[in-house]
């Protein structure tokens, strides 16, 4: 089953970090990538640009309405994600605990929908 791990953290943490600190965080993500790959559970992931670069879009009555994002003003912003393909939640939790932002922010683990071969 695929688990989407959403990384929420105060993006100022990253923007205010020194180059050395940023390097450490980057290395920690590299380690997550390697560990998940080693376990055969890596299914994707990206870091996101700051939330002030986001655009919110809605289609209403056939008209596209866009506004300057983000969708919600939160203390912790969505800053990136991983997709892990694991047998169960415990395995996903193990990998999620390695994400460096878990120490300062929050990781939300969302199981993905399963469309075939399973009944509800």
């Amino acid at each position: 089953m695929k688990y989407l791990c959403l990384i929420y953290d105060n993006e100022k943490n990253w923007m205010d970090a020194s180059p050395e600190e940023q390097g450490k965080i980057f290395a920690a993500h590299q380690a997550v990538y390697e560990e998940a790959t080693k376990r055969g559970q890596m299914a994707g992931g990206e870091g996101l640009q700051p939330s002030h670069n986001s655009t919110v879009l809605r289609v209403r009555d056939g008209k596209t309405v866009t506004t300057d994002g983000p969708f919600m003003e939160l203390k912790e912003q969505l800053g990136g994600f991983y997709m892990f393909d694991c047998e169960n939640l415990d395995q996903a939790m193990e990998l999620a605990a390695l994400i460096p932002e878990a120490k300062s922010g929050t990781i939300e683990i969302r199981p993905c929908m399963v469309y075939e071969g399973m009944d509800g």
Binding site: E87, N88, L89, D90, M93, P111, G117, M118, D119
Partner: protein, 413 residues
């Protein structure tokens, strides 16, 4: 007569049968539905055919058959969905699992252990963990659990359904964690069991002071856990702690159901057999040299249990144990109890000075009650009365209000 026997069997066997079913079916909800079907079938068959020799085996075998029926039905209903559970069953049975008609094949003890760890998984809310544990391992009905926690049955049913959906949807595994994870998860399991016990023993809301059904259930679960994990000192410590509490149950309330504080209890009513067992468990746990909060609390309860008169209590020992406990479990409640213990060594004035104002916010009832008691012992009657009034204003427990009323009447104002 038979219904009562059935109730008892269902409750006693529930953990084992459910563990075996979930292990074989790999589906929490299906296992429970099938178990209910089996209980229904037992209600029909047993009065006619008599009690089977191995009722647990009968229930398991019948439930398995019912599960296959259910799966086939749903497979027919949703023709496009492959009947994967049928395949699963065939495959599992091919692995030498007990078949229909086989004698009761006791599942490995770790089947039940796995179930505990699933029910108490940290990804579930605490409320859901408690409900699921009582339902699945304890064999309590949804109605019984709802009544115990004073919520409408529909709410409890909803809570259980949501928990089971999450187990299935998010694939909360059915496994015993290993290594460092075991200790972490075990803490969560013990917390659930202790919460069930406390809900029964310290009845947090209005109602009877002790709900024996909940305390008995918590003790039973803790006994199972201590049997399954004999090398985990905290599992033994929790069982010991609850046995110590339980040993005082008869002395803790008057015939009229009023609360009797520890120092006023008739100690001849304490259950010495339980105390002996609890003491032995505490010693065994402490010898493993991995001390934790439950063992320390058990040790503290053991000091009380060893004193035949309240005046003989070794408060220095208790205060020192609280110092240790505070180091492993630095919560406000432990800090408060530590102040109480030291006040019994050094006097109520010291206690009063060590009370921290921030506890008014975090635990108002305990704070005001403790402060009132110190003031009472210092014979500062008017202030004591005001403190009792403050405690009465923040509690919603009938027996505490009752206790406060009696204390206030005894003040020499």
């Amino acid at each position: 007569m038979l219904n009562r026997a059935l109730d008892r069997i269902v409750r006693e066997e529930s953990g084992r049968v459910m563990a075996a079913l979930i292990g074989a079916l790999g589906d929490f909800e299906l296992a429970e539905d099938a178990f209910q079907d089996a209980v229904q079938a037992a209600l029909e068959h047993w009065p006619r055919d008599g009690l089977p020799r191995a009722p647990g085996a009968w229930l398991t075998t019948t439930a398995r058959r019912k599960a296959i029926d259910r799966t086939r039905r749903s497979a027919v209903a949703r023709a496009k969905a492959p009947a994967f559970r049928d395949e699963l069953l065939v495959e599992r049975e091919g692995e030498g699992r007990p078949d229909e008609g086989d004698p009761w094949n006791e599942p490995l003890p770790d089947e039940r252990l796995r179930l505990v760890f699933t029910c108490c998984h940290p990804a579930l809310s605490m409320e859901a963990r408690v409900a699921l544990t009582l339902r699945t391992l304890g064999g309590l009905t949804t109605g019984e659990i709802a009544r115990a926690f004073l919520v409408p049955e529909a709410t409890m049913a909803q809570r259980l359904v949501r928990a089971k959906r999450k187990i299935k949807g998010a694939r909360i595994p059915y496994r015993v964690p290993t290594g460092h994870e075991l200790r972490e998860r075990l803490d969560g399991v013990l917390a659930v069991i202790y919460l069930v016990f406390n809900e029964g023993y310290f009845a947090s809301s209005t109602g009877p002071l002790i709900r024996r059904d909940l305390t008995a259930e918590a003790l039973r679960l803790a006994r199972i856990l201590a049997q399954l994990l004999p090398d985990e000192p905290e599992a033994l410590g929790l069982l010991a702690l609850m046995l110590f509490h339980d040993s005082r149950a008869a002395a803790r309330t008057t015939d009229g159901g009023q609360l009797v504080p520890l120092d006023e209890q008739d100690r001849s009513l304490w259950d010495q057999e339980e105390i002996t067992r609890a003491s032995a468990l505490t010693e065994r746990a402490l010898r493993m040299k991995s001390v934790g909060p439950y063992q320390l609390q058990a040790a503290i309860a053991g000091v009380h249990a060893a004193s035949s008169r309240a005046a003989d209590t070794d408060w220095v020992e208790i205060a020192l144990l609280y110092d240790l406990l505070y180091r492993t479990d630095p919560t406000d409640m432990v800090a408060l109890n530590r102040v109480v213990a030291w006040a019994n060594v050094k006097g109520p004035q010291v206690g009063l000075e060590r009370l921290e104002a921030r506890w008014i916010e975090s635990m108002p009832e305990a704070y005001h009650l403790t402060r009132a008691d110190f003031l009472r012992r210092l014979e500062r009657w008017h202030e004591a009365d005001a403190a009792y009034a403050a405690a009465a204003a923040v509690t919603d427990r009938d027996h505490v209000l009752d206790f406060i009323a009696r204390r206030r009447a005894s003040l020499q104002t």
